[in-house]
């Protein structure tokens, strides 16, 4: 009989310790930028009087970084002394109060934690992943920072092997038993012309990249269901901000998603990741030897 805890490797705590600035798009509000998400998320930003901010700052002095309180029908959290945000329980609205903010910082919040949490409340979970299109299906590429997700997707795209669909943030949901990629997350890392903003793509495979030492040969193996389930959860963005109800939806999403992906997932050791002259060739070879041909 065995109760297995895989130690540090299976620890979610502090999983997403930072939020990247996802966008400096020249817009301050979400509806235009994330259209055609339906229903659209309405967001309001406001910069309250300085006195209010001082009050909030004083109240938060020395408190934990995250503070969840009930606020009518909405649940709010506070990320820092300068920022206060509310997201409706159904993910339909978000309010943001931020002191002395410029547009870049407002967009960071709107296109980062607020949008990701709002999507989670609609059952859409954002994986820290890139993705490519192969025979009409999306293949999602996950891995820790530096593993080569973006590089892999870019190389395939530039070589005109597979079109890149998303980079860094890949929103996904389960609909009628299918795992769908919604490649519409607003971000600057991905050129807008390589995505079809109106299309969803059925996800049929997941690649988990791991950077290997140069003297270790590359390998691939099928992921067990538990490994895949774990990776789906591990690579979900902003999971540390999830409320209990968000986390339960997240758990159910991962369980449903792993069933869809179980037939075609792959795990790579990415050889020659740091041998810059050979990266493209190595990735294309990795792709050639690993991409299923029966799709």
């Amino acid at each position: 009989m065995q109760l297995r805890l895989n130690g540090a490797a299976l620890r979610f705590e502090g999983l997403i310790a930072r939020q990247r600035v996802q966008s400096t798009l020249a817009c301050s509000f979400l509806p235009d930028s994330i259209s055609p998400l339906e229903p659209p998320l309405s967001a309001r930003t406001s910069i309250p009087p300085t006195s209010s901010i001082r009050t909030i700052s004083a109240a938060l002095e020395g408190k934990p970084l995250q503070l969840r309180v009930q606020h009518g029908l909405t649940e709010s959290y506070v990320e820092s002394a300068r920022v206060k945000a509310w997201i409706a329980a159904d993910g339909s609205t978000a309010d943001l109060e931020i002191a002395d903010a410029n547009e870049v910082e407002i967009n960071h919040w709107l296109f980062g934690p607020l949008l990701i949490l709002a999507l989670a409340r609609r059952g859409v979970f954002c994986l820290h992943a890139s993705s490519v299109l192969h025979d009409g299906h999306a293949f999602v590429i996950v891995g820790d920072s530096g593993a080569g997700k973006s590089s892999f997707a870019r190389v395939l795209d530039q070589a005109q092997v597979n079109k890149r669909l998303t980079d860094d943030i890949s929103p996904m949901t389960i609909e009628n038993g299918r795992l769908l990629l919604l490649p519409r997350f607003p971000q600057l890392k991905l050129s807008q012309q390589i995505t079809d903003a109106s299309a969803d793509y059925a996800v049929s495979g997941l690649w988990a990249l791991e950077a290997a030492k140069l003297d270790v040969p590359g390998s691939k193996r099928r992921l067990r269901s538990t490994d895949l389930h774990f990776r789906l959860m591990r690579h979900t963005v902003a999971s540390r901000l999830f409320s209990t109800s968000d986390a339960r939806r997240w758990w159910e999403f991962a369980a449903a998603a792993q069933q869809v992906l179980a037939a075609s997932d792959h795990n790579y050791q990415l050889q020659a990741r740091h041998a810059s002259s050979n990266v493209s060739a190595a990735m294309l070879e990795l792709y050639r030897t690993s991409m299923p041909t029966d799709q």
């Binding site: 297995r4 979610f12 067990r224 538990t226 774990f230 986390a247 758990w251």
Partner: protein, 89 residues
């Protein structure tokens, strides 16, 4: 005399994945796997069974003597409780 009943700990999620039962504590983010015998034991407990029922359930599925089965059941219950994956009702 009533026996001790157990339930999943607060904010513990479970999911059967192939032959493994996975558990996660939402608060700590710790992710556990239970193999088949562990799953049988836990499910028997959560269905209201006591240690003896768990032992019987294990012996119905595995070629194992009663003493060994009971010892393993007690060890698992202790560990599940210590990790707050289950709690007494």
């Amino acid at each position: 005399m009533t026996h001790t009943r157990y339930q999943l700990g607060e904010n513990v999620m479970q999911q059967q994945l192939e032959d493994v039962l996975v558990l996660m504590q939402l608060g700590s983010g710790l992710y556990f796997e239970l193999n088949d015998s562990g799953r049988i034991t836990l499910q028997t407990l959560l269905a209201g069974g006591d240690e003896a029922a768990c032992t019987d359930a294990l012996r119905a599925c595995f070629d194992i003597d009663a003493n060994t089965a009971m010892r393993d059941v007690m060890m698992l219950i202790t560990e599940l409780c210590e990790r707050e994956l289950i709690e007494r009702v």
